[in-house]
Amino acid sequence: MITLLYFAGLREATGTAQEEADLDGKTVAELIAWVGERYPHLSLEAVRVAINEEYAPESDVLQAGDTAALIPPVSGG
């Protein structure tokens, strides 16, 4: 299982900060597609994914136990 984290506007739009999903062996691109199907009202084009606290390219493959965070455009500072 993969732990998914949602932040900021994504957290509010999904109504969840964290959930588990069986996405073992899927790529980051497939993860984003899964989230898009689950929450069709989200706009995910500008969203980056971090696996285990590191930004990951769309080709990276998820492994059981990974934490994948959906990172909407940041606005710190």
Partner: protein
């Protein structure tokens, strides 16, 4: 304090300046970013910041490493506050020391630019008549947050 940290309490910038000061340093630049009341003609009541704290602290430390590579002999400390912040309060502090002032100025500006593009921290503006999560405005208006 940690040299790269996400905090929930008010920031005392002097602690970060003290941390980077060393006998070899002839200059310290101290940047503090504050909550602004007026943005594009809209009045902000307060801001709410959220972070992916463990990753954000890692990214801040990485920015510090990048600065040490680009400007050898510098020392850096960065803190970002999260939670609800009122007008005028400090959201971010960046302290850089260097033997000569030019490096400290340049490295400090580099740090805030890198924070704005890569560190997972988000700002929500709260107005009298609505709220919005602020995203990267270089690409397009915020499409994740609710519209006022």
């Amino acid at each position: 304090m940690k040299p790269y940290e996400i905090v929930t309490e008010p920031i005392d910038p002097q602690r970060y300046a003290d941390y980077v000061l060393r006998p070899e340093a002839g200059a310290v630049t101290l940047f503090t970013g504050h909550v602004r009341e007026w943005t594009r003609g809209i009045r902000t009541l307060y801001l709410a910041y959220e972070a992916y704290a463990p990753m954000a602290e890692k990214m801040l430390a990485r920015i510090g490493e990048e600065i040490e590579q680009k400007w050898p002999g510098t020392r850096t400390a960065i803190a970002h506050r999260i939670g609800e912040l009122r007008i005028g309060e400090i959201a971010v502090v960046i302290a850089v020391s260097s033997p000569h002032r030019k490096d400290a100025y340049e490295a400090n500006e580099y740090a805030i630019e890198r924070i704005k593009e890569s560190v997972p921290v988000w700002k929500k503006e709260i107005w009298e008549d609505g709220t919005e999560w602020i995203g990267d405005q270089r690409k397009k208006p915020d499409t994740q947050g609710e519209k006022p």
